[in-house]
Amino acid sequence: MADITWTSEIVPLASGPLHVARSGSGTPLLVLHHDIGSPERLPFYDALARHHTVLVPSHPGYDKSERPSWMRSVRDVAVVYQALIAEKQLADVTLVGLGFGGWIAAEMATMAPRGFEKLVLVGAMGLKPERGEIADQALLSYIAYVRLGFADQAAYDRYYGDAIAVERLEQLDLNREMTFRIAWRPYMFNPTLPHLLGAVQTPALVVWGRDDRIVPLECGERYAKALRNATLEVIDGAGHFVEMEKPEQLVRLIEGA
């Protein structure tokens, strides 16, 4: 996809500057990345940019966005993204939330029950599993945690290679620290979120990797049940990082939904 070009800018929001990468044209799509941050480009992002204006912000305190020392919750991040949408005067936005970014997207949807075109949650954190547990990254090395998110270790190798550069490891540590700052306790869920999801009128697509070892599939089932207008799609052969392991399938679901 050589024709896809990306630009990036620092958006000076009142709450602090935010790094946003942008590509494509068409209806706007806001992609919210995982707790591990995001590679600068992904085939998944490029594929979406063929039919949409795609915005991929770095969450406040992650990758290229500087750390807001005041920030204390995932809901704060959701509010910052509402401000980004207003600042950029975007309308009819589709939210695509990946893992931790899915939790942010779900919070955003509850804040504006009719405010979005579509809500796509992929392996989203945010809800407490009833049977299993959300994997605790505090107990795992940076690499082990990323590996855990892949069903197929060959896919991990394709994206991350043999040895992640030390600079990337340091960034993974900074991202993890920011995750701790806003999602330490309760770890990776918001006990009030389930009570607010039922008001969301935005049509929702909930996608889960069959082999997600970071957020159990039961959380996908709960999201699909709690949201009044949702369908659940389970992708075989994918783990938590569906957008890296099965990008074509995920794009097809998003475009078709």
């Binding site: 505090a138 082990a144 993890r176 620290e177």
Partner: protein
Amino acid sequence: MHLMYFTEQPMSAYDEQAGRDFGATALMFSNKHFDPVAGSRLYNEYLEHYKLAEEVGFDGIMLNEHHNAPFCMQAKCNVFASILAAMTKRVKIVLLGNPLPLAEDPLRLAEELAMIDMVSKGRLVSGFVRGGGQEQLATGVNPAYNRERFEEAHDVVIKAWTQPGPFRYEGNHYHHRVVNPWAVPLQKPHPRVWIPGVLSKETIIWAAKVGYPYIALSTEIEATRKIWELYDKVAAENGHSGGPEFRGYLQRIHVAETEEKAMANARQFMWMQGEFTGLAHPVWSSPSGYFTPAMRKAFVEFAVGRRSNPRGADFEDQIRNQQIIAGTPKTVLPRLRRLLEETRPSIMGMWASDGFVSPQDTRACIRLLGEEVLPAVREIGKELGLWSPFEANAPTSRAFPEPARPAGEV
């Protein structure tokens, strides 16, 4: 000089091989390996050792605490401090210390410490620490706010000790609508506070700014000198001169009747397999946000197995660089003199044994230290002008320039 006896209170009675097989002995190493029968015996042995340390002439007993690890059985140093407050008569009870960030309620801590100070008739030295890396996880406390919580909890404790209540405290991490504890310390302005540490510059700088003595925990002589250079520089910038009464050092030192026996027992200092050496877990011991940002590169490489523990060194190296001293009373003294001459501390903890050293050998070591080493060290201290904060009537802190002493005493 102020000379203290210290033990980590090792819980050596567990299946060591199980620890090796698991690959770590902290945090997630199952507590099914903890034997409360052995625990009961060991706690009582340690109490006997503390009693003996007072008898043979130590000035203080240094206590600490750790969580979820066999290398230290004290899960709450205030418990042993309370026992010693009633059981001992003369020694200072030196807590190095209570991990402030782990406290959900620093006011409770202020009350407990005030009670210990009153029961001991004003013998409390209340040190504070950040807590080890894995302990943030063991207590569910956010490592990313460790330093903020440390400073804020300290603020709560000192205010609760020194400002008449009731008043309100609204911080970033601690919120107390009513601060009015019905127990305040006997010592005024408040018990002395000493701050121990290993390698975080931030802690040294903070202690120097506030004006508390800093206690270097078994660092190499050269590293210790660098600590004092930094401490004295920051102290000077903040209006005090630093120097011996602000300097403490924890020395691992085992003495016995023969060199061979001392050396064999000193190897047990390497037994500690938890937080700081040996089988420290590279991830659990260094959660994100906990370690000093200047060391980020070293710790992330450690976490993924690309380098050894930035906190560790092997036995021979530690003997060579005097982080561990072992020998007969006669042979350890030149090395202690070197330490005192080159780093000039006035407070010294003697960590006398660890691991599987027998209670008999530990008692013999305490006795030899008390009868033969302490008097000689005191002489060296006098010769070098190493006056402890008590001897020098040093200020309690920058905020409270008067020396701490029991109320009513002059």
